[in-house]
Symmetry: C3
Subunit: 137 residues, 3 copies
């Protein structure tokens, strides 16, 4: 079994951003030299997520609207008694999930025609990380 690990850094300008990272994940796949296996793409923060969906600006806005409706920025969450103001970001992270597994087949990402990988920043403007870890053979 082979493995390969890489970290992506982000420092977004806006509080919330959805950043396409499919090419970065593909590069890691190629560097790993792995032909058959799994790639874990996982946020290393509790106020961010990783998801697979469509690279279309409208649906990314719809996702943001849905998350903001369920877990809006601003209200007096219990978490804010610690001095934080990012309770919504934690809840959004739970809802979209913080990670995906991308299958590797024949040395490439085995994604469907419209599947793209996104980093979801819910509390940005500071340095945050995603781990990409490939295992296989």
């Amino acid at each position: 079994m082979k493995s390969y690990t890489e970290y992506l850094w982000f420092n977004t300008e806006k509080r919330r951003e959805y950043i396409r990272i499919t090419d970065k994940v593909r590069e890691a796949c190629k560097k790993s030299g792995i032909k058959e296996g799994f790639i874990l793409v996982s946020a290393m923060h509790i106020s961010a997520g990783v998801f697979v969906n469509d690279n279309e600006s409208g649906i990314l806005k719809d996702i943001d609207n849905m998350l903001e409706k369920i877990a809006p920025f601003g209200p007096d969450y219990n978490h804010h008694r610690t001095g934080e103001d990012n309770g919504d970001a934690h809840l959004k992270s739970i809802l979209v999930h913080h990670q995906v597994i991308v299958p590797v087949t024949d040395g490439d990402l085995d994604l469907g025609p419209w599947q793209e990988i996104f980093y979801a920043e819910f509390d940005g403007r500071r340095r945050k990380r995603v781990i990409i870890k490939v295992i296989g053979e």
Copy 2:
């Protein structure tokens, strides 16, 4: 390390359907000959999901009701400016997640007593795919 890959095709009659695929996943597990490892079961479309829950028609209806309450079919989503009408399906896919990992122990799916694997179609009536990929030894 061994690996085995299979694709399931679906073409549902209804727009939304929840289809039990535990037996298909178990067959793939047996064909792989893998005794200890992981099976990834992952939708290859951005308007479908895969989840583990109870094979009971009432709860499947409750899941559908919950998703329809949060992300109803019909409204004027931003995504619809592209000519699509399936914004709700993308959002439902995000909420239930598009994939699961099933552990393989002693050559079989290591599921709890009530755990069944479901393909969740949110925008059907056309051919769509799920990847089953087993890695292990």
Copy 3:
């Protein structure tokens, strides 16, 4: 490829509880002797979840509040026609997801600074299980 499997048992006092299990997962990682790989931490019941978030009592309460708002305990879910009263627990399990993958790098959990692993019990007061399965080398 090496693998290691362990089961955690829970029997909570309250119906809903969020239990930090990071140390148990780390112990399993050490016992496995695996240096590079993946750990699957997965609830074996359809009324429980596993998630990664902050070990801070306020945010755990906020997560519970959000889940209770979307899928409250009590209403007459379709699932209850079977005689069950835990429809909400199934829905909560779907929303938080029932599993996570923890990357293993250099023989330890490769988590971000604030990431902790939680077992989410949504229908407790009886014996329930989580599988921890490590694969790698």
